[in-house]
Amino acid sequence: MIAYSHTSLDNMVIHEQSAKARSRQLIDSNEFNNIKTAHPINLYTPNLFIRIGLFLATSLIILMSQGLLMLMFGGLADSDTGIAIVVAVFGIGVYWVLEYFIREKKHYRSGVDDALMWASVSLLAGDLIFYFNMSSLQASVTVLIFSLFASIRFGNSVMAGVAFLSFLCVLFFSITPFGAIAKTILPFVTMIVSLAVYLFARSKRNDNRWRHYRYCIMMLEFLSLVSTYLSVNYFVVRELSIAMFSLPGNAVIPGGIFFWIATFLIPAIYIWRALYTKEALLLRTGLLLAAVAVFTFRAYFSIAPIEQVMTLAGMILILVSYFVIKYLKKPRRGIIDKAPDENISQYESHVEGLIVSETFKPEAAVEPGFKFGGGSTGGGGASGQF
């Protein structure tokens, strides 16, 4: 299924996990080094900035090769079919190079494989869509097939996001032709389907068989949470209804109250559940959507000029965060305000140490002077942590 070496991917998970345990000083450096030598990673994954550079350079090569091919064969095949064939052959060639780089050169998220994957998928899907002059539904299905294949083959999270979005498009374009009733139930269908996708992704998150797709799963969770919300958000439903039924701009949509309740209730549910289940992704999505809910409200009811709202909201946010930070100085129901693992604070290791040492007697395995990666933020950022 996945193109990359399974053993190396597994070992990569082992490295990640051990590094986490090491930074929390749960395993000693001896164990950590033994793990690394026993589970080597035979993959080429450069630094993020190098990856960006390699992505740009590879994209340039693909673009220019495409141009050269068009110059050379564009004259020979002076018809749509000719051009379509040239593009298709080129797309297949790019895909072959991609498989070659993964199999032989062991590239994994190196920028080279990213660029080749995106180029081959967009060349082939785009070629089919333009040559057959596809309808929206057909085009969505084509994109869905290609992106789903690439997600499964390469485990790329952004590609999985494209697959999910094209899936929603397929849903939209296959329901709307069925008339007024179909359009009316569209928000509910989208919501139920999105929720189903979320629950599916959620159930696979800790499933060992899906471990190579963990980033795809995260992307799916995030996007399905967002689309669950947006499908019943008042603004989205109203503007879409106006566009689909060609209603006047001041139209009142039926069931408006329901959508208003959903607009505010869903973010609240997300945040509440996230605090209960302690999931960062759900919490962040909930906070983001809470902001969307506020903007939705502002779009229809302007109770005060924007600057007054900004000033007031600013004061409220500062006060709320002030009191919450103060309240969470000590852990409450397992929730705390502290810098995360990577930047371990004295306090955290202290608390954790206490809990751990109370449960059993640990051996002295603390290496003195352990240093944490001192990455520097760019221009922005306070002296603390922004």
Partner: protein
């Protein structure tokens, strides 16, 4: 029932299965495994970043709102009240920071508490609004517009060093740019600057040299050495952009600009190696590549159509070269 169970599932950040496997392979001791299991159970859920983001958003909204509020109410009686509020807020913030800050040192000083950085930011931003208001309403600094940006800049630089705040330093550098009429923030650097103005190009070069010098001094003289990266980052981007702009602008001398461009690439290459910075390697590669490619394509005459083939082949070959260079750099910076 199943769905309910799914939704109540908690997510551990450490995968116990992995460690059980490592234990079976005799790679970790039983004690370590138990320790991991206990720690994972006792794990606390931190909402640190979320709270900081809300706090930061609050500061931005409040200062932004106050800024607009004062300009909209400039001719009403209410604006005196708002002005008083802004002044009080700013003074209160600075008073708080002065009271709570840790003793000054030329090296890095930690924030005394969770709010310090945000209070200082609020104080500085409201101070900027206040000075802007004074200029707009009473024309305090007259037509010497430079003074209206010069004074906030000095105060910002002072605060950045005195209270040790990287965000304020970035603000100060942006104000320094504004003072000499140059937009320096990454997003504005291309949009707002009119690079058809020779004066601006040289001003940009001078500013870039100055910032790079500041970076050098802060590292060598140990004057807040952790400020080095911020200075260097601004300096590098301004220098490269000004240099490329010079190349595009001085049509007849564009080849001459390859000399300063080469010098810049060389200087920042040395810096990148010394700092082991992948970021600088990427930036100098991209800027250098744009410069060289521009010079090359510009010097060709397109009288013969076939020259297009040559240009395309140049791009393919040079990009391959770029890939090899970046891969070697990755190796070099990693293994050193």
């Amino acid at each position: 029932m199943k769905i309910g169970r799914l939704m109540f599932l908690n997510t551990p950040t450490m995968n116990i299965g992995v460690f059980e496997r490592l234990f079976n392979e005799n790679l970790i001791s039983e004690q370590s495994l138990t320790r991991i299991k206990v720690a994972e159970k006792a794990k606390l859920f931190s909402i640190h970043w979320e709270l900081r983001a809300i706090l930061y958003l609050g500061v931005l909204l409040l200062t932004g709102g106050l800024g607009i509020l004062i300009y909209k109410n400039i001719d009403t009686i209410g604006h005196q009240v708002i002005l008083g509020f802004i002044l009080l807020l700013s003074a209160g913030c600075f008073y708080y920071c002065e009271k709570t800050k840790l003793p000054f040192s030329w090296s890095k000083v930690a924030s005394p508490n969770a709010y310090f950085d945000y209070v200082l930011l609020l104080g500085c931003l409201t101070m900027l609004t206040f000075i802007g208001y004074l200029q707009a309403q009473y024309n305090t600094f007259g037509d010497r517009y430079g003074l209206a940006t010069f004074i906030p800049m000095v105060v910002l630089f002072f605060c950045a060093y005195y209270f040790d705040h990287l965000g304020i330093l970035s603000l100060a550098i942006t104000n320094l740019g504004a003072w000499i009429g140059f937009a320096v923030t990454p997003l504005e650097i291309f949009k707002s600057n009119n690079f058809t103005d020779a004066e601006l190009i040289f001003a940009g070069l001078a500013l870039g040299v100055f910032l790079t010098l500041m970076a050098h001094l802060s590292a060598v003289k140990k004057i807040k050495p952790h400020f080095c990266f911020t200075y260097l980052n601004f300096g590098m981007n301004i220098l490269f952009v000004s240099c490329l702009a010079g190349m595009f602008y001085f049509d007849s001398f564009y080849l001459l600009w390859l000399i300063p461009l080469g010098a810049l690439v060389f200087y920042f290459y040395r810096k990148a190696i010394a700092m082991r910075s992948f970021y600088f390697i990427l930036m100098l590669t991209v800027y250098g590549y744009i410069g060289v490619s521009y010079a090359l394509v510009n010097s060709l005459s397109f009288a013969v159509f076939e020259i297009v083939y040559l240009v395309m082949m140049y791009f393919i070959a040079s990009a391959v070269f770029g890939i090899i260079f970046l891969i070697r750099m990755n190796k070099k910076l990693k293994t050193r």
